[in-house]
């Protein structure tokens, strides 16, 4: 299938993060007028858990410090709440810029973001197969891709509760009817064209 939907479980993430394409350029444009005021940092509910604050992240984007950016957890900790976008005095599309960094990490399959990448890819795989997300299949695909025998245990109490309520049922991942395959394929084709 394609790199968007496929889990690529056989292909291990690289150990040293070093994205090849210079997709940073478009993100640099997004934040080019940043005045380093720190409003984004002050507004971010996840700043407490970040190594670089959002303001520092944008500083590094402006300077093209790839190594620093893709060793930092910051963008992967963005929960897409749009507070920074709403409040930035320069009106910069900061949430979109955070997502653009996530997209690079996903495409390059960068090791530090393995958990989130595999979760999102499991999600998209389920969507591509069935047209809709099957929550239980999503979790199964995620557990399989993480190859961690302990991870499912962490979710077991909630899983049991949900199953007891009949909200989810055991589901063996299946190929589905490939409902959205054509759309996924076309998107990938267009994106590849743009990269060139």
């Amino acid at each position: 299938m394609n790199r968007l939907g496929k889990l690529e479980s056989e292909q291990e993430p690289e150990t040293a993060p070093a994205p090849v394409i210079d997709s940073l350029a478009s993100i640099r444009d997004m934040v080019s007028t940043c005045i380093q005021c720190g409003t984004c940092t002050g507004s971010c509910p996840n700043a407490f858990a970040m190594d670089l604050t959002p303001r520092q992240l944008w500083y590094n984007v402006l300077r093209g410090e790839k190594e620093t950016i893709f060793h930092s957890k910051t963008f992967s900790l963005c929960s897409v709440c749009y507070y920074c976008t709403l409040r930035c005095p320069r009106g910069l599309p900061l949430t979109e810029a955070m997502s653009a960094l996530k997209q690079i990490a996903a495409k390059e399959n960068l090791a530090p973001y393995k958990k989130s990448i595999r979760f999102y890819k499991s999600f998209m795989e389920s969507v591509c197969r069935h047209g809709r997300v099957r929550e239980m299949e999503l979790m199964t695909l995620y557990f399989i891709s993480m190859k961690s025998p302990f991870l499912p245990l962490q979710f077991a109490p909630l899983g049991m509760k949900l199953m007891g309520k009949g909200k989810i049922s055991f589901e063996i991942p299946s190929k589905g009817n490939g409902a959205l395959k054509a759309i996924f394929r076309k998107v990938e084709e267009l994106e590849k064209k743009e990269e060139k």
């Binding site: 709440c81 749009y82 099957r134 009949g166």
Partner: protein, 303 residues
């Protein structure tokens, strides 16, 4: 009132009760919901984290299917994540005809076409503005007396597009909650983020965010939500968070249509209260107790 209806994936699984209660509530008010035929997933937050173009193509697919239904031009969406994804495409294609062309090249693969004629509405927007507090007030059969409710909006129905409420200080739920007789628990957490999908991939972070919300809700009798992910995050980890904070932070969490539906006299079965993960017993008990004591007082006055 007639709307196209996009339930989204969670409302067929972990948020079944949001689906049932939304349908029951809207039906009670005489509104008709027409489910979009053969709808597909909007991509949630996962598409945006993997591919920008895909995160626009998936919601566009849904909008095109909605247009195909014909006649009705507004889509009612209960899930805030779905709402924002669909809204984003609605807003972007209005300003960017080139993008619309590109999207249509993709949609052609599924023999779909998007013109941009449908308007995306959040359930809360519809309740606050199309239904309105007066209509709810007039239909209340079992008021919430002496109960205080914390309105929780979350992020994505408020930001980045301020369509029907103030993205910094949301208030759209207040009048409709008050219409049921309940009081508002005033807090500054209504528009705060609950951490969303962090709960799966970075639970340490999300648990902190939810803990702060539950702590701020102390003193309220329940929190009311308008998004399946907010609901799940707020209700499913209460025991864990109570242990973490070494204090009892259990709190009844209800979807807005469940809460309003109760006041309108809909049954607990129709609203699927059996599916909520938080403990509702004390909340329902207090409600019934206050209700009977008021009725008793009324009767005493009559005698």
């Amino acid at each position: 009132m007639k709307y196209l209806y996009y339930p989204g994936c969670s409302l067929e699984g972990t948020a079944l009760e949001y689906n049932s209660s939304t349908r029951a509530f809207m039906q009670e008010l005489g509104a008709e919901l027409m489910e979009i035929e053969d709808w597909t997933c909007c991509g949630a937050s996962a598409a945006e984290a993997t591919s920008h173009l895909l995160s626009l193509a998936l919601p566009a697919c849904v909008l095109a299917k909605a247009e195909k239904m014909g006649g009705v031009e507004e889509i009612l969406v209960p899930c805030s994540a779905c709402y924002l994804n669909l809204k984003k495409v609605e807003e972007k294609i209005r300003k960017d005809p080139e993008l619309l062309d590109k999207i249509n090249i993709i949609l052609a693969e599924e023999k779909l076409h998007l013109n941009g004629q449908v308007r995306v509405r959040h359930f809360l927007d519809v309740v606050a503005n199309d239904v309105g507090p007066e209509k709810i007030f007039a239909r209340v059969k079992k008021p919430f007396i002496n109960l205080s409710i914390a309105p929780y909006y979350g992020c994505q129905c408020l930001r980045p597009y301020s369509v029907f409420d103030d993205p910094e200080e949301p208030r759209s739920m207040e009048l409709i909650i008050k219409a049921t007789g309940a009081k508002i628990h005033h807090w500054n957490m209504g528009g705060r983020c609950c951490g969303a999908a962090h709960m799966t991939t970075k639970p340490e972070v999300a648990l902190e965010l939810v803990a702060a919300i539950l702590k701020a809700a102390r003193g309220a009798d329940a929190i009311v939500t308008v998004c399946p992910m907010c609901q799940m995050n707020l209700e499913a980890y209460q025991k864990k968070i109570s242990g973490m904070c070494k204090e009892e932070l259990g709190m009844p969490i209800l979807y807005l249509p469940q809460f309003l539906g109760l006041a309108l006299g809909l049954s607990e079965q129709d609203l699927r209260l059996d599916l909520n993960l938080s403990i509702l017993k004390a909340f329902l008990g207090k409600w019934m107790l206050n209700l009977t004591s008021v009725n008793r007082n009324k009767n005493e006055i009559k005698n």
